[in-house]
Symmetry: C2
Subunit: 530 residues, 2 copies
């Protein structure tokens, strides 16, 4: 920063703003901020901003970058309030940036204990904001509230013991006066849950166990003691319908991942979406996508909530592109299954789901000692990165993966805090994996267009009212597509792997789009600092 | 990279070009490439390109970034040949990038042994190119020749044993049919040298020891056995005058750094510039800037060679902004001292050098057990990063540092491969360090203008015929100044610390400026990939 500019910067320093729940609830109407993981509580990841649009997309340019001094995957989806961007960094850190310049305002550095266990990198996917606080979930399975103005710790509560393999990587979700947060650890045989904490005090308001205990409904879907290590983690941020007062959250694989012999049954509520009363955490309904999963197809995708006609009448829908290669439409009031349609190549189930949406497995698709080729592989047809719904086009956009896997099974004994996999997979040798951003018609699952990429990407998708679809390629290009045709309008080579989701917001009245790519946040727009 | 673009990329793939010595010798006349560390062998770091200029500087934007998966300091100055950028990465790796997109074409990954000793980070400052090869010096003190087209190792020679504290971080310099390369290790009591190797075979052509052995000229400047650990490393790329056939190279601190009691004498050729016959390595002349240095003021800056009037007649000059806070002008034919002028605050010597350019030390400026405050501190008034000379403005540009240090001394016994410091320094407590890019009139050392920065920067300076001065701030801004006024014309926040030098070249006919910042290379220009 040049000395001669410091005076200006001093004056222009943004103040951390109070974020009222009503603002979050109505976030779609106030697109200058990006207040939650998905932009609104409905999971749309859509910006109503139009400054960046099809006419000027070719002129988009980087405005600043913010680099981190870590080589772990940078999976954070930023949150932006009144010109301040809150971004979590690996492993469990938070930095507040001035959105105008990318300049750090404060940093929270989490000192993690030894012995934290993670399956897939020391990552974090973002923060929640509410009131005057920023909330981050940590790898040692704490939820921490930070003062939004200073980064000082307001409170810090342990959700679960990290020594048992519990960790937290999810971006929490603010719901009214609570912070909802999920757990990770599905590869260590944890018992999954979804928690809500009082935003002011950190006192736990409720917990929903995603694996029922003996005596509870659903327990009969677990053989013997297998429910004790049943996993069903909740490691990707869900959504919330304010009118129904329901929290929707996807759940992960049953444990162990690749061998179901010791857990005969459907293994509820693994690989499901659960609908919980936001005040009590009581289960309203659930829908299981992959009963008795043996391919590690966590259903930890974002449940996207839209109101659209279905079957000739308006319905409150949930759109869900699942890792198991099927796209689902559910009635989000009741959980009723409305549609299931294959959206990526798969070889594990009949192409038609049954009337309840249950898949019919094909023979000889189980993992074995010698290996079984199945499409898709364990990373699935999509994964943790976010889809988008545009109310402009009324299309659902998802970054898809097309790659087979050879699945192996073995026997693993559960041991607390240790890997509990009972198998493994390798991507199909010699095969070139494919990836594509696909635009689906919500009510039919028909693919309107697709934008093929050189390889499967781990980037989320953002749509904007300017008619743009932003996403990233695994090789590092961040790009914008025409939301009605899929035509490439712009791209920038970030030179880093992308494992994150784009967001959009205003900085001093000018639209920016930001994404974490490689080891940096890139902010893009038409015009930089004035 | 999008699948649909791959066909185009395939066709457009640049071919590694042969680099003839005549091209390097005349590099200033062929500004589409950037063929050596400093752009030409004279150390100008000036580009004759004019596409980026004062009129359009405000429209400069990043065209691509290339990120590295390392957190070490990224000190490389890229070399560019026919649209291929060769950039060294920490610790001793090389990547070839397509200058158009930043896409990697090949990578050379050096496997380093355990026990490599470095004072200041596992860094590398760049490569040399000649013929069909790329040359990199490694932390285990090898010089390695790589096939420019594939990155395959053509040859690999050990220059010195790394176990004794020898390492190589310097960008080698191609001189006719040889590769000249220096050594690092001044904090481990190595015996410094400058080497030249046959570019084709890797056979050593000559070595000049920067610390004379007993019986050789200059040996009387070392007390007792102290010459054996005399250091005088050669860790920053020097320059070459083709007409005089002289190689000029700066040398580092005498060992141990901060206590001269055991090495009474001037300690030649530490803290000097040496002029060597390029064919034989024989010493033509030397000039010592800081006799008997006790403040760690390595004279490893780039000796800048210009032909300008001095004292009323045209002279072959060397301009040298030294870490000791004095700016020097020497006759580069003879080594004659012509001018010495303080260009940054200093408190260690009288403001006037004597007639031979020798400083007169002020009393009570030696490091002591209790600490002595001296300006500048050990990083000095400038450091390893490069200055620039513009033949357009006939000004010399250097990034300067203004910070005091408290210097402590102790006794250290030399032990092979161990730290040999005999003291330490800390920056002056409570003081805000300052930094500035300064434009000096070469013949007088008068400051024409200065551009103050918030803190001292470790960025080199590039000038262009478009009238721009490119440099970076420590906080991460990369910027362009007006070369005649120092006015800020443009800046981009890279979000990373800058420890590197900018370069400029053409990619498909369009001018780019590139710099390593943080953990990425940024390429800037007006228009991206077509």
């Amino acid at each position: 920063m040049m000395r001669c500019l410091m005076a200006i910067l001093g004056v222009a320093l943004p103040m951390a703003a109070q974020v009222r729940w009503e603002q979050i609830r109505n976030a779609a109407q106030m697109p200058g901020n990006w207040l939650t993981f998905s932009g609104n509580t409905l999971g749309h990841r859509h910006s109503a901003l139009t400054q960046l649009n099809k006419a000027n997309a070719a002129s988009i340019k980087p405005l600043w970058t913010y680099q981190i001094d870590k080589t772990d995957k940078f999976e954070a989806s930023p949150v932006v309030v009144s010109g301040i961007m809150y971004v979590s960094e690996p492993p469990s850190d938070v930095t507040a940036l001035e959105a105008r310049t990318g300049r750090p305002l404060w940093r929270y550095r989490r000192v993690l204990p030894d012995g934290v266990r993670v399956c897939c990198g020391r990552v974090n996917r973002g923060v929640a904001v509410l009131g005057d606080k920023v909330y981050v979930a940590t790898l040692d399975a704490h939820l921490v509230a930070l003062d939004a103005l200073t980064g000082n710790v307001a409170w810090d509560v342990e959700a679960a013991p990290y020594k048992s393999g519990n960790s937290m990587t999810v971006a929490p979700l603010a719901v009214k006066d609570k912070i909802v947060v999920g757990i990770a650890g599905g590869e260590f045989g944890i018992r999954g849950f979804l928690d809500a904490y009082d935003a002011k005090t950190g006192k736990r308001a409720w917990r929903f166990w995603t694996v029922p205990a003996r005596g509870e409904p659903g327990t009969q879907t677990w053989e013997g003691d297998s429910y004790k290590y049943g996993s069903a983690a909740t490691w990707v941020t869900g959504t919330y319908d304010p009118e129904l007062n329901l929290v929707y959250w996807g759940t992960g694989n049953p444990g162990p991942d690749w061998n179901g012999e010791t857990r005969t049954g459907d293994n509820l509520y693994s690989d499901s979406v659960i609908a919980l009363d936001a005040d009590t955490g009581k289960l309203k309904w659930y829908f299981q996508f992959t009963p008795h999963d043996i391919h590690d197809w966590d259903s930890t995708q974002v449940p996207v909530l839209v109101d659209l006609p279905f079957g000739g009448k308006p319905r409150k829908l949930m759109l869900f592109a699942n890792r198991n290669a099927f796209y689902y439409v559910l009635d989000r009031v009741t959980g009723e299954y409305l549609l299931g349609k294959q959206y990526v190549r798969q070889t594990w189930a009949q192409a038609s789901l049954d009337a309840k949406g249950r898949p019919t497995r094909l023979p000889n698709t189980e993992p074995t000692e010698k290996g079984t080729l199945v499409y898709p592989n364990s990373p699935g047809a999509t994964n943790f990165y976010a889809p988008s719904y545009s109310p402009m086009t009324k299309l659902f956009y998802v970054n898809t993966r097309d790659e087979g896997g050879v699945f192996y099974s073995r026997r693993d004994e559960y041991k607390e805090g240790s890997w509990f996999l009972a198998g493994r997979f390798i991507s199909k040798p010699g095969e070139e994996a494919k990836g594509a951003v696909k635009a689906l018609e919500p009510a039919t699952g028909n693919v309107k267009w697709e934008f093929p990429m050189y390889s499967p990407s781990w980037s989320g998708v953002l749509t904007t009212a300017g008619g743009l679809v932003f996403a990233g390629a695994h090789e590092g290009d961040f790009f914008a597509l025409d939301d009605t045709t899929g035509k490439l309008l712009w791209r920038f080579p970030t030179g880093g792997r992308i494992f994150a989701n784009p967001v959009s917001y205003l900085s001093e009245g000018m639209q920016q789009v930001a994404i974490a790519a490689g080891h940096a946040v890139f902010a893009f727009g038409l015009e930089g600092e004035r």
